[in-house]
């Protein structure tokens, strides 16, 4: 909402300065968004006439115009507008002027070799309208003002206030003035309109159909006959221009002025274009009409329409129709002042995708008791400016407005705000805001002003009182440092732990969007359901991610393009399995590209490989408190992993929930995303599948014990079928005698010469130690033989001799 201090002074008597005003507005909840000083240089924009146009010698689309800027001065201006032609009255901006829209300062410039002294402005460049089609066209009325400033010399700045949706009353200057006055910033000027006393009959019959869902409850109107529509007088034009509105014609300007001044939207019809009378009814499906924006609208059923015998004239409270609009030759005017229900307005506007000033106001709630006042004010102005005769006011209504009453217990104020104000003060604030206040035994009996649809209960009154008495009065109660419940639950602790654990392994944490490109998502979706966003910001961000890989791989690729070769990034966050709340899982997902080490004086070249990610996953899980001895790993992994170089990890063999996948990414994926890197490996840890221990880590620890007896190491080499997993061998050996076998380590895996086909040799070192005695040779021999025998029996291995 844009206002000026000058306009505010129509309603508010105050000696205070604009600086104080800006502070006070913000203090009472009418936040000042920006202050624009147009006055400093808006005098520079002059009414001018194009007296000659020539084609630009070097550019087909440009014209070189001779522009009369008054006082016998002619300026050469290069202009690209199609409508620039001889005799056109328009607005000229000289070098030095700052264009309101772009905030750029004009300079004398050579355009394709021709020097241009200033610019001819479009309405959009001047923030007069959104019309950027060509330069502003002024009517012949302006001819006498050539050389004069287009904008009035207002000293008032443009103050842009952000009005919260609960305050429709402040969409009118008077509402703002009332709030300011209540807060002690001046005195509200009494401006009650005198009622029209007319003997002229209102000859157009108006009827509101009583039907289900009727969006209009009251329709007030009057006829003004024999008017002469014209341009508005200077004071009215200046007023509208001062807040950046463009004057159109007196009748339209007057309705706009009343709307801006007291937030009472009005609509003016050319009464001669209305067939027989007005009917307010629900639309029928398929009905059409052409609106004032010259667009044709096809309606659904149940929208509130204003009609005559011929059909729809307009969408009530949203937009009028082209057929019945006023023009300069309009003789008889029907002025409408109605109340439309906010919900109905919003529904219709949403369905028709229409956003108008009237809609914005009606959907927030217009003062239902302002109907007559609006008609009085506007009709009198029309008569004053355009002449004519005003008829009696006709008011049709199907509902009667009832004043809302609230019983207010003054003690509630302190209970919520934490500070005290006197009852006297409360009464003054509420009365200044327009409440009817009556003292009763239990507190106050309040009548809510009709312009405040937002107020319906006691807490609303508290808000008004705190707001007007000042938020700075709220005390600062120091918080108590006391914790009754642990800050994080087990899952959250695990989240934090894994996050920092993975980062400590050399991965940079990334946060990427929860949505992704459908194409990328499909690479990793497998059998999961695709979850589409109905209204994505772009088609590349059209689905919720089924895997974090989709985003990470995209970003790895971008970083490779930036010239990085060795990259490790991870993200911990949600993946989505369905479109219902809760159908999501928390995943730690990492990707490593390139090499682990590059050739240097001390290190060899080595690509990142599956055992790097296997270590990262295992180590992170061990650090998080899981026992790696129980881990079970097989090679069943999703299709986006390399089928031979990837694994699936379970915390426990008996567990059927996958704790993690890890491995090399499938070469097809790299091909599809056009990635060039020496190697790409990744992992996913599924946090929701990790069992959260009931006990604390401390309680989980077994008793501390160790053996001081000598340990021995024995090496074995087994030849096994290629399909036998190393893990099986380790498990078999570990289980031979848990009291003696302390550690099993694979130190070599070999295939090739001297090994039968489809077989491999696995060399294992076993640490043997007793907690009861030092083992002698024969003890060791016994366990040795047992190991060999068990391994051979259980895995079909043969000891290598």
């Amino acid at each position: 909402m844009i206002i000026t201090f000058d306009w505010l002074k129509d309603h508010l008597k105050t000696n205070l300065k604009e600086k104080n005003l800006l502070e006070q507005l913000t203090n009472i909840g009418l936040e000042v968004e920006s202050v624009e000083s147009l006055s400093a240089d808006n005098g520079l924009f002059k009414i001018a006439e194009i007296i000659k146009t020539e084609k630009h010698p070097n550019a087909d689309r440009l014209k070189v115009c001779d522009v009369n800027i008054g006082e016998n001065k002619i300026k050469k201006v290069v202009c690209g507008a199609e409508n620039a032609k001889e005799g056109l009255l328009t607005i000229y901006a000289p070098p030095g002027a700052i264009i309101p829209k772009t905030k750029t300062k004009l300079v004398v410039a050579k355009i394709r070799g021709v020097t241009s002294y200033g610019m001819l402005c479009s309405e959009s460049e001047l923030n007069l309208s959104n019309d950027s089609d060509g330069i502003t066209e002024l009517t012949q009325e302006f001819r006498k003002n050539i050389g004069k400033s287009y904008f009035s010399k207002s000293k008032s700045n443009l103050i842009d206030i952000s009005i919260t949706p609960n305050r429709p009353d402040c969409l009118g200057i008077r509402g703002i003035a009332r709030d300011l006055a209540a807060s002690g910033f001046g005195k509200l000027i009494d401006l009650e309109e005198k009622k029209i006393h007319s003997k002229n009959k209102h000859t157009l019959k108006v009827k509101i159909n009583k039907e289900k869902g009727q969006g209009c409850t009251t329709f007030g109107s009057c006829l003004i006959t024999n008017v002469k529509n014209s341009e508005s007088p200077k004071w009215l034009k200046d007023k509208l221009i001062s807040i950046g509105q463009k004057p159109i014609s007196a009748i339209v300007d007057i309705t706009n002025y009343v709307m801006l001044d007291i937030n009472r939207p009005l609509h003016a019809y050319d009464a001669d274009k209305i067939e027989k009378g007005i009917i307010v009814r629900n639309s029928k499906s398929g009905e059409e009409f052409t609106a004032l924006d010259n667009k044709n609208y096809k309606l659904e059923s149940g929208m509130c329409v204003i009609c005559d015998n011929k059909g729809v004239l307009g969408l009530g409270g949203i937009i009028g129709g082209a057929r019945s609009g006023t023009e300069f030759n309009t003789k008889n005017v029907l002025l409408e002042s109605a109340y439309f229900k906010p919900g109905s307005i919003r529904n219709t506007a949403k369905k028709m995708n229409l956003d108008t000033d009237a809609k914005f106001r009606f959907e927030r709630g217009i003062d239902p008791l302002s109907i007559e006042n609006g008609l009085n004010k506007a009709a009198k102005l029309i008569k004053e400016i355009c002449g004519g005769e005003i008829s009696k006011i006709d008011i049709q209504k199907i509902e009667t407005y009832k004043t809302k009453k609230i019983s207010f217990d003054p003690n509630i104020f302190e209970k919520i705000s934490g500070f005290k104000i006197s009852l006297k003060e409360m009464i003054k604030i509420l009365e200044d805001l327009g409440f009817g206040v009556k003292k009763v035994k239990k507190g106050l009996k309040l009548a809510v002003p009709s312009w405040r649809p937002d107020i319906s209960q006691e807490v609303d009154i508290v808000e008004e009182l705190v707001r007007i008495s000042g938020y700075e009065k709220i005390k600062n109660v120091e918080p108590i440092k006391q914790r009754k419940k642990s800050t994080l639950n087990k899952f959250q602790k695990l989240f934090h732990f894994l996050q920092r654990s993975i980062a400590s392994k050399g991965y940079l944490e990334a946060i990427t969007w929860s949505f992704t490109d459908q194409r990328y998502n499909d690479y990793f979706r497998e059998t999961k359901k695709e979850i589409k966003i109905i209204n994505p910001i772009s088609s590349e961000l059209g689905v919720l991610r089924n895997s974090i890989f989709s985003n990470l791989i995209m970003h790895i690729n971008k970083n490779l393009d930036r010239g990085f070769r060795d990259l490790s990034i991870f993200e911990i966050g949600p993946i989505f399995n369905g479109s219902n709340p809760g159908e999501q899982n928390t995943v730690v997902c990492g990707l490593s590209a390139g090499k682990k080490t590059r050739l240097s004086w001390i290190e060899k070249d080595r690509n990142v490989d599956v055992f790097d990610v296997k270590r990262d996953v295992t180590q992170a899980l061990v650090e998080a408190g899981y026992d790696s001895k129980k881990f079970f790993i097989d090679n069943k992994t999703p299709n986006y992993y390399h089928p031979g170089k990837s694994g699936r990890l379970f915390l426990d063999k008996r567990n059927d929930q996958v704790a993690a996948y890890f491995g090399e990414m499938h070469p097809n994926i790299l091909k599809q995303v056009d990635m060039k890197t020496e190697s790409l490996v990744g992992f996913e840890i599924f946090m929701d599948n990790l069992k959260l221990p009931e006990k604390t880590l401390n309680d989980l620890k077994v008793k501390f014990s160790f053996s001081d007896y000598q340990k021995s190491e024995r090496d074995f080499a087994f030849i096994v079928n290629k399909n036998v997993n190393a893990q099986d061998l380790i498990n078999v050996i570990s289980n031979v005698d848990e009291s003696l076998v302390k550690n099993v380590k694979i130190f070599d895996v070999y295939e090739g010469e001297n090994i039968p086909e489809n077989h491999k040799s696995i060399a294992i070192s076993v640490t043997i130690q007793s907690s009861e005695k030092t083992l002698n040779e024969s003890d060791l021999e016994k366990i040795n033989n047992l190991i060999i025998k068990t391994v051979e029996n259980k895995t079909g291995a043969k000891i290598r001799s």
Binding site: N27, K415, G418, V462, I474, S501
Partner: protein, 355 residues
């Protein structure tokens, strides 16, 4: 001259010369070997007349010690010299680079969430979470923002179905609803997390982070709200004093509602929090609306309290001098490295939030 004196003089002079380790060992054996000169003398003790035996033994021991010490120190000297020589040979160019290492980093948003949690933990808040996909009821209706409320226009919502029943939460406030429906008052929680709005330009990202706060108990008033936020902002920016301004605003789910500005100034292109005459809006808050409490079956005549919502990304930008919101989610390796935090840098109260 007695034999002892002779031995002593002879070997002292021998040991005074330049000797290698073999020669010293030879001398050692000549003296202390099985039939060495000193060993032989010890064997003689028993044969010596009783009157002289004590003195002889005494002299012999002194000579023995003297020679032995000398030999030991000579050996030591030689060994030391030997090691020194060896070490000198082993000398390398220590300025050669070490083996390569890589450093992981924690994203500034994660770090900021940990900082925030740490601060609120101290004053008794616990952390709650909610799903990213919400239903229309939890995100709007339960929060006193019924269908057709103009306030819904302020949230550009991503929807997952045509009926607009499933959506990506536009704020963390639905966690208030979930928490209050799940448990009984009092409530004292924060809820950090991802939030979404279909809005994308220089200063808006379609995904961003918020932290919700909710404190419901008997007699919690606006003074507690102000005190809590004042404490938080001071702790978060790690300053002693903060300039904070509460200003009336409107959110459907709180009443009275406020927006909070903090004072700042620009010094050498950097933002200084807590000083200066300019105001920066950093959060919205208010007393939880009685309608919201009714929706979650909490009796507003018995319980009341406050709620707030803070933009986490914005806080991180302010504290760590990050200019571009979009960069947070752009995954640029250079950016992550520059603004990321070492994983060992866990914000704690005793050590301080940041280094």
């Amino acid at each position: 001259m007695s034999d002892l004196k002779k031995i002593k003089d002879e070997f002292l002079s021998k040991l005074g010369g330049k000797l290698d380790i073999f020669e010293i060992n030879q001398i050692k054996s000549d003296l202390f070997g099985k039939s060495g000169l000193i060993s032989t003398q010890f064997k003689k003790i028993g044969t010596i007349a009783e009157s002289e035996r004590k003195k002889f033994a005494y002299d012999l021991n002194i000579i023995k010690d003297e020679l032995q010490n000398l030999i030991n120190s000579k050996i030591n000297e030689l060994e030391t010299a030997e090691i020194k020589k060896k070490l000198e040979k082993e000398k390398i160019d220590i300025t050669l680079p070490e083996r390569s290492f890589i450093r992981g980093k924690i994203h500034p948003v994660s770090q900021t969430i940990d900082e925030i949690s740490s601060i609120f933990s101290e004053i008794g808040f616990s952390v709650e979470e909610g799903p990213d996909v919400e239903n229309e009821y939890n995100n709007f209706t339960a929060l006193n923002t019924p269908e057709n409320h103009p306030a819904r226009d302020m949230h550009d919502t991503f929807y997952l179905d045509e009926k607009k029943q499933r959506l990506l939460r536009t704020h963390t406030s639905p966690v208030q609803i979930r928490t209050m429906l799940k448990d009984k008052p009092p409530f004292k929680i924060i809820a950090p997390g991802r939030t979404y709005r279909s809005d994308s330009d220089q200063t808006h990202s379609p995904m961003f982070h918020q932290v919700e706060g909710l404190h419901i108990d008997k007699n919690i008033n606006m003074g507690h709200l102000k005190g809590c936020l004042n404490y938080f902002i001071k702790e978060f920016f790690e300053v002693d004093k903060i300039k904070m301004r509460f200003r009336p605003s409107h959110f459907p789910f709180t009443e009275p509602s406020a927006e909070v500005d903090i004072g700042y100034e620009m010094k050498d292109g950097k933002i200084i929090i807590g000083e200066g005459n300019q105001w920066l809006e950093i959060l919205g808050c208010g007393m939880v609306h009685p309608n919201v409490l009714k929706n979650v079956k909490v009796d507003p005549s018995k319980f009341q309290g406050y709620a707030f919502g803070i933009g986490i990304d914005r806080l991180a930008m302010l504290k760590y001098g990050i200019n571009d919101l979009r960069a947070f989610f752009d995954c640029d390796y250079r950016w992550l490295n520059h603004f990321g935090f070492d994983p060992l840098d866990v914000p704690t109260n005793y050590r301080g939030l940041s280094r």
